[in-house]
Amino acid sequence: MAQFVQSVANQQIPPPYHFPNVTAHAFLIDVDMGAVQEYCDTYFNLGDAEERGFVYRPCAAAPYALLMVVEYPMMINSNRTVLGYGETPFSERGYASQNEVFLAVPVIRHGLTLQDLLTRAALEWFLPFVVVDNSTSAFSGREILGLEKLWGEITLGQGPFPDSFSVNVGLPGWPSLEPTAMQQMLPFLSVTTGGRLPAVGKTSDVASPWTLLQSRFAVGAMQTASAFVDNLCTTSSGIIPSPMRLVTLKQFRDATDPHRAIYQALVGTRSRYYDVANLALYNEHDVTLNLEMGGSFAEAAKLFVAGTPCATGDAKPVRASVPVRGAFTFNAHLDFDEMQTLHLFPVDGDDCDNCDPERAGMLSPWLAPWWGLFNAPPRLGDKA
């Protein structure tokens, strides 16, 4: 492969990234398994199954998704690449900050033959949308990792009670499918919680199973478990993985025929939370999660609202209230690393000697260290 032509003026920061002291707010919601399977078939299970050699399916044991709101006070880049004109390397420029809202849905991947069934098995997460309020982050995520990052307005605040939380997300969108509709900044979703448990001014009298964990002992036990899980990956040399592994379809359009793809690949990334602290729970019955489903947002809402028909093209605002099954918040450090191409799909009938150049990328995480022990690390572009 050729060298990427670096430029200071392309507003893109290549990895690796380190995000210290993030504050995360997580909301567990139900997802429609049929919609998840449809998503997998549309974006991951491309082409002929036999040639592909793997399949993505919904995780039957976890029919839920995590809506995450993450505050990044500091995004540090440690890429020391010297740019083309001899400009200051990325790592010496400074840091950035952002807020991010995304939905994460777990899926299972496995091989299709008896031999590959377990060696290619993995639990991964896909993000059907990611909203950030930092354009540099949006460009980098989209163009390097293929993430469906959107730029929007994210307003964080406190709800009506002490220690509560609220977020409002606005996105550029079209209020209707009228041909002349003009793009506007429209409300997309909003979340409001009650206070952290044990809460002052609790709004709901309904007991939550999560309140079982509100005692000091229970929270301490959960924090200990979190710390243990943090270290599990290291102590087991990666054989027992704990981080969240993301998968996404990275694809780009042809300039003259924008419906034709010039590149399609599955890309994997590891996001690892560690040094988890200040874990606290919200009563899920106090959480209000509203989603705007009108106009151009109808499609994006499909995974949110299990079984609720989307009002595609409705000119009037359509709002759905999404039930929340659990809600919690914590502080942690977050690293984004191990970006790799998992599988390269042939484009336009290329015979594509290198359609799977990084075979190790599709290996199960438990097998990866052993593969590395007995094989030279493959590189994208190496001849098979």
């Binding site: 670096q6 001899g86 400009e87 163009e143 003009m182 419906h259 793809a261 790799q340 590189r379």
Partner: protein, 369 residues
Amino acid sequence: MTRFIESLSTHQLLPPYRCDAASVHCFLFDIGPQAIQTYCDTFLNIGDPLQRPYEWRAIPQAPFGMLCVTHYPAIYSLDPETPRALGVQAQAWDHLKQTEMFVAAPVTRYRRTNDNLLVDPVIEWVQPILIVDNATSAFSGREILGLDWLYGHVDFMRPAKPGGFQVNVTLPSWKVFGPNSPEEMLPFASLTRGQPLPLEAGETPGAAADRLGLSAFIAQLEAAIPDLAGIAEGKFPETLELVGLKQFRAAGDPNLAIYQAVIALSCCYSNVNDMQFFDAAEAVVTFQGSSMVNEILGTFLNVPPKWRPGPVMVGSDGKMVPSQLPRVRALEPRMVFSFTAQMDLTAAGTLYTFRDLPPAAPRKPRASR
């Protein structure tokens, strides 16, 4: 054909694009052939020169840049497939509003023969700096057309004098490079100009240009770039051919490219109206002093050092000391004009991809300035 898999999360406006009444404000300034040639060699003349089918060169007789602010009150896609897929009958789709600022410079593309001769010169334009205030446009320009569109704010301000013009441009950037320096939305450029030169009854815009002493300069422009002939009569070239490097990083090694291609774009102007000339002496283009702005200016515009913004200083305690020259006059426009037009932008074609060419040798960075 391998189809791109659509998703509303892609948030792209599909070409071709049209805007019925774009207002275009241009500032022509000297940029120097060396800076333009360096840009060509860095972004277009890459790979093995003997196998590359084209060569781009600066035009010695036209060593200028055109800084343009263009406001699109409604730009839309003419791609028929998107509305059809949604069951909507429409010719125009996905209307949005945007304002952009860019710098364009003319270059000549030559075809290289098997005998290593450079023939068939074609004038094209490169755009080293593009800033747009609409994220959907930025995603589309970057990911489909391969233009390095930056996302920023381009705001029309209330001018100091009636009939004047002021635009402020801000970008996410760093005041000063350093591990503890935060990225902020910072001023990048400010453009002002006075009132248009009034025309007597029956006068053409050329008369105003004459009164401004621009006739010789316009003649020089027309000699170097025939497409610009007629600008004094209130015309603008019907078509400007743009060219850019479309490239994407590999996920596993972001210093490598998974795709590199040179894309030609066609920007067509029609129904050109209200051509107006302005006194260049009243026009001021200033740039904010910050590490990143200095770097962009030094890299792409070759602004002479005497005109650069003063450096931002860091005190002994690590805190920033406000510069004595936070904003200086950085560019001296040679010609300032504006007009309105219908604009059509589309990809004319992929000139070639680097897939089958041997990889370029890693470029050595210049010695630090």
